[in-house]
Symmetry: C2
Subunit: 146 residues, 2 copies
């Protein structure tokens, strides 16, 4: 019984997130889900942070329709950002820090815009479906009125 962070196995992670183990292994193969430092043949171990990361990837894929290649690009950009952030308290100038924040803010804004565009499309679709429903109900009333 240690205080070390509890780890999950691939099947548990898969169930929690709603994908299959195969998907998780494939994402690891693409470099999306670091499987570094693990002996060949040993079980994969995941933390809650890993689960959160996987959820994020699935959301970007399903909700925004990004390809895995785009996710890899994004992950690489984030890693570069993380590497810089580790030097945050180091010997960076304020200008460099501002540049890092700028990039982070731009990325967040881009994703917000993508979400907005998707939402508008969904709303349009919802409106058409509701019209369809009203037409059906109108016909039903006409049928009953006779």
């Amino acid at each position: 019984m240690s205080l070390a962070e509890q780890t999950l196995r691939i099947g548990q992670v898969a169930e929690q997130v709603g994908v299959t183990p195969r998907t998780i292994r494939y994402y690891e193969e693409l470099g999306l889900l670091g499987g570094a430092g693990r002996n060949k043949g040993a079980h994969r171990q995941y933390t809650d942070a890993d689960v959160a990361r996987l959820r994020e990837l699935i959301r970007l894929r399903d909700l925004l329709g990004l390809s895995l290649e785009e996710l890899v690009q994004l992950a690489e950009a984030e890693e570069a950002r993380a590497a810089l952030r580790d030097q945050w308290r180091g010997d960076q100038t304020d200008d460099e820090r501002r540049a890092i924040l700028d990039r982070a803010e731009n990325l967040a804004r881009e994703q917000i815009d993508l979400v907005k565009a998707r939402r508008e499309k969904l709303d349009e679709f919802a409106d058409e479906l509701k019209q369809k429903l009203r037409r059906i109900q109108k016909r039903r009333r006409e049928l009953e009125r006779r």
Copy 2:
């Protein structure tokens, strides 16, 4: 110069809808986009109704995440409904008509529910992105305050 409905070629349809000609041919192969009554080797001809139908399919695929197999199922159900509707003014009883309307209404409601579920997921995602943005802006203010 006839009054017959103007027809479009596959490339024009593809551009209007935002897919490739290959996608359209593939959908036809699956029976999603009737290519009936066309001589082998002849150019495919599309009406505005075909374009609207393709748009609908793409929306169900992209926005609701339906597989092509599910789209085929849906198309078959719709065809059955259309066949019945053609007899609408025929010798059907009112009970049969009510049954047709019931099925149409249920289908519309199911799709509306799917759209709603997607919308909620998108809103959740948007909220998290906005939080992220605020954290970045807070860090920026801290940086400038010194």
